[in-house]
């Protein structure tokens, strides 16, 4: 019988949680949080037809909006990383690109994670900075 051990063990150290069900849950929960945050903002925009900079600043001066925005930011980063990682492991796979796939994946994943870290830190700075 052929050895199919290569197909038996699948470990991906760069996956968000290295576990399919955890990644799946994180992606769906973060999607719900993002949907809630987006819909809430849209409702606020609709209820504030003559939007001014002062109103916008006042909104984000309140602690609960800052907390919600931070949760939204974290959810966006987690959601994006799982999506980006999944797309990369689909299109930049060893199966389609051979041995050099690991180089493409490394560059792609490093660039993606750097962008997300910058996005997260920048977002925190905007929300909580002086």
């Amino acid at each position: 019988m052929p050895d199919s051990s290569a197909a038996k063990m699948v470990t991906q150290v760069t996956a968000m949680s290295r576990n399919g069900i955890s990644d799946w849950l994180i992606q769906r929960l973060s999607a719900l949080l993002l949907a809630f945050y987006t819909v809430s903002l849209v409702i606020w925009f609709l209820m504030t037809p003559s939007l001014s900079y002062d109103q916008w600043q006042a909104l984000f001066d309140t602690s609960w909006v800052q907390v919600c925005a931070l949760v939204g930011l974290l959810a966006a980063c987690a959601h994006a990383w799982i999506g980006v990682w999944t797309c990369g492991s689909d299109y930049l796979s060893d199966h389609s690109l051979g041995a050099r796939a690991v180089i493409f994946r490394f560059v792609y994943q490093t660039t993606s994670i750097l962008i997300l870290i910058v996005y997260l830190l920048w977002g925190i700075n905007i929300l909580w900075g002086t």
Binding site: A7, K8, A15, R18, I21, W24, D90, S93, H95
Partner: protein, 243 residues
């Protein structure tokens, strides 16, 4: 009636790369031929054409091919169902290596099938006769055991094209659920543990290509959803005390 047929050709002994070969073929009137009948007529015209076939009635699953872009069994697909503008294109099932013409190498497909341990595992002491099942438990296997492993579903799945070494694929997962749901099987925990990684099950995006091409009318997407629910239940349940 004359029909234009275009067939994927590749002979590893003589061809550097694959090509499509066009044929004009006279279709006898009076009845709706199956695509396999057409292939037999083509084979009379060109004996070098290779394809797999056996039972010619949709039971063995040997003659899965891609007909005008859709996977199916040639022996039970009527020409009237697939021919468009009097033209038919026949290609091998996509995503797996081609051995010759319409014959593909199914090794990766079978390795994924082997991986899900497609047999009953029962740790209980051997019983004198067969292990009995209630009619309700037996009914849970309907829509699962009928799979003939023709590979039409897995080779219609982009996730399987991209990761055939890691994603079990719809055919394998349908069979995985067939044993997970079997009341006589006691290896549920081991089976689920082997499927919890980010690839084996979770590469399924639910696009349902598998459902639309299954010649037996089975629903692998639903089975994959059940496996996902079992994995979810297992993840939120407290672990049993270690012995």
């Amino acid at each position: 009636m004359t029909m234009a047929v275009s067939v994927y050709r590749y002979n590893p002994d003589t061809d550097q790369k694959s090509r499509m070969q066009d044929y004009e073929i006279e279709i006898p009137g009076g009845r709706d031929l199956m695509v396999l009948d057409l292939l037999e007529l083509l084979k009379e015209q060109d004996p070098s054409l290779s394809y797999r076939r056996s039972c010619r009635e949709g039971v063995c699953g040997s003659d899965g091919v891609n007909m005008n872009g859709k996977n199916g069994l040639a022996c039970i697909t009527p020409l009237s169902e697939v021919v468009r503008a009097n033209k038919l294109s026949i290609k091998p099932l996509p995503g797996l290596p081609v051995i010759r013409d319409l014959v593909i190498d199914l090794t990766q497909f079978y390795q994924q099938y082997e991986r899900i341990k497609p047999y009953l595992i029962n740790d209980a002491p051997q019983v004198a006769q067969e292990r009995l099942q209630s009619p309700e438990d037996r009914k849970k296997l309907d829509g699962l055991y009928e799979c003939i492993l023709c590979a039409c579903c897995s080779t219609a799945c982009p996730s399987f094209w991209w990761n055939p070494d890691k994603f079990v694929g719809p055919a394998g997962l349908l069979q995985a659920y067939r044993f997970l749901v079997d009341s006589r099987d006691t290896a549920t925990e081991e089976r689920l543990a082997a499927l919890e990684d980010p690839f084996s099950v979770f590469r399924c995006r639910g696009i349902m290509n598998c459902v639309s091409v299954c010649p037996r009318g089975l629903n692998p997407t639903r089975a994959i959803g059940h496996i996902r629910n079992m994995l979810l239940e297992r993840a939120v349940q407290p672990s049993p005390p270690s012995s």
